[in-house]
Symmetry: C3
Subunit: 364 residues, 3 copies
């Protein structure tokens, strides 16, 4: 098992960062009062764990056959985001949780897509990808995001009470999870061929044996959970030291850290001129956050959080999510890309980040 891991590390330079996993635990014992250090170390430790988690999930999926494997891939694809958000949920840091949901959708549709277009476009002059597939997935993502945002958008205009928002959020969570279940039936069973998930595993990376994969999956999830706890504990003070609001940390930092593994896959696909893969990962992962991660967190808040969590995003987050998914829908519509399209997407992401940094939202 160790030799497989070592071979894997040679393949994927990101995994050298695994050395920070023991370092962050050591630091927590030795310097519990250095939140900035713990914050940085925990970020460095989560990135390689996310990459391991991603590879383990794909290995199990490859071994268990199409239906179960697809289910696993679809459910565990955003496991890192989920585990980090659960740690924040347990600590009652709801602003951080909501910001990380909103940030993950925006990061997937603007940063992941933009950087894929840029990296691919620097190597290939004009890249073409399947318009039919991209439009279909973009329509699903758009509808998923709309469904997630309706209550927030309307509540903002009608000034809903907290109790009403809680009722709405619970109803919404149930509807979203039902939709997600039907979506799995659709993408794994009735219309499997529309989604090229079989291509997900890269040619160069052989899947691990089942035992190793399952063991890694379980062990690494525990490690991510432990590191996330350190991360969440240190984030508030560290953010203040860097002049960042909790919303900024959740929206930008957690979203980029949690999605690092998928981004690595998407960027590698773009360099190999397989933009279908990159677009599929970016849009699919964003839709999964909206339809699965967000409602699961609402439901779990009843059991794990100090109080039920409502799905009311602050107004700026609603605008940013709507703009981001609308942009992704319109941009992927042409089925062609070049480096400047990537620059423009990244620029919109940068302007979001700048605005959020300078103008922290007034949320409690």
């Amino acid at each position: 098992m160790l030799s497989s891991l070592l071979k894997e590390i040679r393949h994927n330079p990101l995994l050298w960062l695994l050395v920070f996993v023991p370092v962050v635990f050591a630091a927590e014992t030795l310097a519990p009062d250095a939140p900035t250090l713990l914050f940085l170390l925990s970020i460095l430790a989560i990135v390689p764990l996310a990459a391991l988690l991603s590879h383990a999930t794909e290995s199990v999926a490859a071994k268990t056959g199409d239906a179960v494997g697809g289910l696993l891939n679809a459910t565990l694809g955003n496991l890192t985001e989920l585990v980090i958000a659960l740690a924040a949920l347990r600590a009652g840091q709801y602003v951080l949780v909501k910001a990380s949901i909103a940030g993950a959708i925006v990061a997937n549709t603007l940063f992941m897509l933009g950087a894929s277009f840029l990296l691919g476009g620097l190597k290939h002059r004009v890249q073409e990808y399947s318009r039919v597939g991209a439009r279909f997935q973009a329509a699903l993502l758009f509808l998923a995001t709309i469904a997630l945002l309706i209550p927030s958008a309307l509540a903002e205009k009608e000034r809903a009470s907290a109790a009403v928002m809680q009722t709405l959020s619970l109803g919404l969570a149930v509807l979203l999870i039902v939709t997600y279940g039907l979506g799995l039936l659709f993408s794994l069973k009735t219309h499997r061929e529309l989604f090229g998930s079989a291509e997900h595993a890269e040619a160069g990376e052989a899947p691990w044996p089942l035992g190793l994969a399952l063991g890694t999956l379980a062990g690494v999830t525990v490690l991510v959970a432990l590191v996330s706890e350190i991360f969440v504990e240190s984030v508030q003070e560290a953010a203040e030291a860097f002049g960042m609001s909790p919303a900024f940390v959740g929206f930008i930092v957690v979203a980029l850290v949690g999605g690092a593994a998928e981004m690595a896959s998407a960027f590698s696909g773009a360099r190999k001129n397989r933009l279908d893969l990159s677009v599929g990962i970016a849009l699919g992962s964003a839709a999964q956050i909206a339809l699965f991660v967000a409602p699961v967190l609402v439901l779990l808040s009843y059991f794990m959080g100090p109080a039920p969590m409502a799905l009311d995003f602050w107004p700026g987050a609603v605008s940013m999510m709507l703009i981001a998914t609308l942009t992704a829908t319109l941009v992927t519509n042409s089925g062609r890309s070049a480096w400047f399209v990537g620059i423009l997407l990244l620029m919109v992401y940068l302007i979001f980040a700048m605005t959020l940094y300078v103008l922290p939202p007034q949320v409690s």
Copy 2:
């Protein structure tokens, strides 16, 4: 004439509901103090009348030749919605009127389109329809809705006075009706071949003789008007009994009841794998509400209502209409559908309904 009607009833099982027309009049005389009963009976009576109205209009259109027939179809296609709204207008129930306009646009673009995709998709694996036609109609619908919503959207942000909104609404109504007139010139005269309205009449349903059709048109319109009056009188108390706000009744109940006949046509088209027909009915009917029904109601409010009615929708309705038409535009863009696309559209509609039920808008 009666035998034709009886033959028709055997064809269309919806028409058995015609028995509720005498029942609702009897109930109004016998139990004028049972608003919930009258509300339910009047809904059951309007649905078959709408179906008759729709078939009579098509029969007259088929007999009078293309130009006049097209004009009739285009003008009387939403006659049921118009007659119900007029009854509410006369009673001064402006929230109900505006909610039924907004609800009709949303029901056409989300519910009718979504249920067509779902019903068609359960029978046919992937359905393709003319992208060119759908995009063209979607662009018209989008522009029509935008035109209808600009004053509401801006007034909300600028906090306009009632007098200013009234001036704006009158100007807007004139502009919309001019646009509608030019649109008729376009779709019936100069570019007729872009709109497949000749296909509207189903193969199985032979058109009625002209006399029967005209007589039915006149007689049934009077019946709808009479039943609508009972409906509008009973709706407020009945809605309270069901815990529904007037906005919810107008947005969901009136819109679905008024559009029942067109929905039957759209669904039947989808089952027969003629999605072009379904998409055309859904988008065309929504555009007609925005360009014709809404401004006509504003103009008539000067003569028939207790006071002039402004076209200021409440903020939530503006958001819902914009989201619904944008969604329809993006979803029909791909020219393909499968059952899950229908599920997603219906889910967005369901979330709209849930939000509106839990969070009634603060309108007077």
Copy 3:
């Protein structure tokens, strides 16, 4: 040089208006207290100067070769708008400046595009144009406008302080100009063939000799600047006389006057069934306003204005710009047009104008 000019005038009837240039200067000396007269005369004088400026820029571009010429065309294409806005900036009329930026984007995407579709459609039944090119340019325009609007949209919801908006505007201006520079690299160097700028010069109009062109460019720019000063001085009182707010003047009048020369080119292209040209001018010019003119004005306000100018548009302008670019994106998506599409775009523009006239924004 004079004979070339006279020959040009015979070609382009707009240039007869050049007679108003000396007239406006005479009027300023003789009747300095007649703002309404000066306002009208200065508009009549700017239109032919803008046409000359446009032809001179193209002539210099044609002589200097592709790279430098493209750069000139791209930078000086909106020179008239820039010079008028600078005059307003120097006078501290920031509402007028911002309204003219917003108005130029809306006028290009709704009025210029709509009138091109209408004028072309009245001559040609259905016009087709390159979907690929239009979609690409529309995506660039959409992203550029989004980037310009994010801070305004978020600040509105979060009620940002003036100091924060100033910081945001400065950062935004720098990011937009960097994006614009990369966009030039893209459209002039790495992906030149995607943009048919070489076709811009019309067949019938021979380019001027370099000396004449450079001289005209310099001389006419000075004239535009001088006339703009009279325009800006007289606008406030004249607007009051016509019952127009400064926002209306900037949004409608300045935008149409400043864009007159480009509109003439776009309309002429549409009549010749070269809609690719018209769509390219309309979308490209709007993107240039967002990425170049707007940030340059912010930066210059630090040196030329009485106080730094922030890029905070009033809420109505944000909505109108978003709707306009979204509409342009969706409408050009089909790659086909007919006269009624033009009518609808013009109608949306007219409703914008009507709303702005009746409901002036509450800005300082």
